[in-house]
Symmetry: C3
Subunit: 266 residues, 3 copies
């Protein structure tokens, strides 16, 4: 599904998108979700996580701030979403940065069928079994193209590595997205937010490489628009929400601005 079609459906259907996410960027994630037209909900208690997941149209699991009760909530919510046929998206924040962050995504991946996995190049390289340097929750390089293809094949999901160029693959096709702006890397949570947009798009359009690429391109385009009026990272963040909401309200001119290309898996 392309971006304008996804945004139109989000505005019409207003699907519930359930987030099990970190407490650092949760407010941005919620506002980004709402700005696409979807309705965000955060509910982590084991007493309700399955019931809430079952009423949602997508579940986004973000590993930003992990601990065992949250991992249990993620597994319960993810399994229930799988049972209900609801797409589950993973943002493996900081994968590989500690032993705990190496083991946890393996555990999640063994218990839950993810429709898509979106992270930075270092995180995706870790999941692909490649060497990568992850310092804290920041990626310090890694070959994104190789990583997404290998991770997609290994994990049987659409995998995206975000960065100045986003790479998206399902193991057979490879798409690249060139939309975005350097200020996106100067705010905390732009990665979480881009995964949230992928979750919203998946709620109405599934998680094919085309749809995940459309989500990342749309979010990147919002970043380009926001940067025009921003004086730095602080004013960029509210402008990013403004831009995303404006695109969602009127996506008619959006497609011409998206720089999505098919590349060779090679």
């Amino acid at each position: 599904m392309n971006a304008s079609e996804a945004l139109r459906k989000l505005g019409e259907e207003r699907p519930l998108v359930h987030h099990l996410t970190n407490y650092v960027t949760v407010n941005l994630v919620a506002n980004v979700t709402l700005s696409t037209g979807a309705l965000p909900v955060m509910a982590h208690a084991v007493e309700e996580v399955e019931e809430m997941a079952a009423t949602a149209s997508a579940l986004v699991i973000n590993m930003g701030t992990l601990d065992p009760p949250w991992i249990e909530a993620m597994i319960r919510g993810g399994k229930e979403a799988n049972r209900c046929g609801i797409p589950v998206i993973l943002d493996p924040v900081g994968a590989g940065a500690t032993r705990f962050r190496a083991e946890t995504p393996e555990k999640l991946l063994s218990e839950i069928d993810f429709a898509a996995i979106c992270g930075n190049a270092g995180e995706i390289s870790t999941l692909a079994g490649l060497d990568a340097e992850v310092r804290g929750v920041e990626s310090i390089g890694g070959d994104a193209k190789t990583a997404v293809v290998k991770a997609a094949r290994r994990l049987g999901a659409t995998v995206a590595a975000t960065g100045p160029t986003d790479h998206i693959s399902d193991g057979e096709r490879l798409l690249t997205v060139e939309n975005g702006h350097p200020l996106m890397g100067r705010i905390v949570g732009s990665g979480c937010a881009s995964t949230a947009v992928a979750g919203c798009f998946a709620a109405v359009g599934g998680a094919s490489p085309e749809t995940v690429a459309a989500a990342l391109a749309c979010f990147g385009r919002a970043g380009e628009i926001a940067a025009e009026k921003a004086d730095g990272p602080g004013t960029f963040e509210p402008r990013l929400l403004d831009a995303l909401a404006a695109l969602a309200r009127d996506p008619s001119a959006l497609e011409d601005e998206l720089r999505i290309r098919e590349a060779s898996v090679g």
Copy 2:
């Protein structure tokens, strides 16, 4: 108490307002509290929740992100506030969305005497025992007027249902508030924030329908002012805090702008 009097007292007395609230909108809630002139404090540990509640002038309990340890903190804090004669305000976020969110408000309401309860129409309908559709934490309709009167009678508290028109009742009187702006529904947490303002007003003026309506009208008026300079939901949120702080600093012209009306309970 009317809005300008409440804001003047908040600026003079700077009362402590204790919030047991969700981690999604907690920063907005804290900043809204501070912008009214009150001092926000968040303290949930059972080791201190009662002592902190006892030093506060109001306690606001928001169910946004629930789990059992937090429910215990809410009950302990609420009971201690009751013992001390401090008004306790409930925001029943997502009431009815899951079984856990149906049972928890009943439990809180059975253990704590709430001075006021502020939610959206769906949540208040749920508390009134009426049918309502609550999707995640969003209300999808419900007859707000009937709900607030019925809930107020059932629960023995001032009850407000916020929306394009806010309805406030103590079971005998019914007030409506027409202030506000559609952008308030496009940011995450405007409901939590309006309940926080009601909590601040309660700290200096109690929780009569008049005072709760004044709080909601004042917050709605801030939204109207903020919308004039906002380019979308992202820039609206900081402008909302600016507007609220400006009204708090100089509430002299505020009353003329508030659209609070007495309506028939019917």
Copy 3:
């Protein structure tokens, strides 16, 4: 180390700064950290807190929202940072406001060697064993100058009390900082954010009184710049991040604007 040198090193080395902080202001703390050039990471689980602390260049412990599992994480992370020779900074938010907030800093101080402790005058007075009024997490006065010197001698660390004038001492020297703007007191988390900047500076320059004063002066200077374009507390906060990021990108003119003075310990 002076402020411009610290910012240059932060931009070159991009050190990891690990925060164990509260969920109210965590997003601001993370964005402030990133705006100085450092990379923020938040990881509180006992399964990884020590490993993450060991990979960081500074650890900032903020008591804003306390509970026993977090205290355990703070102690584990702090001890590991001590073992690795990584500076640990404490923000004793609300110290003295409840019995729990009186005992917890004593416990942390007995288990961890802090390189610097940054709080408001009331919190620092509490740690110095002086009488102070702390209402919730707000200081209501206290003699900052006496408090920092006494606390520094008692605790064997650089101690800073922030306010309209910041006071910084290691027990022998006393520095004052006059940079800042009243709007900093009108947003939630400016204290947490200033401690975060001190943590970033400590990551590259240690925690001498000179370096802590440089951090507070730099943050205060960002506040002065931000205030020029702000219309109130809401628009001030994003402008503060813009200003801090601009100073970090080009610190060449910064030193002339900093008002740091040596004072008599008396």
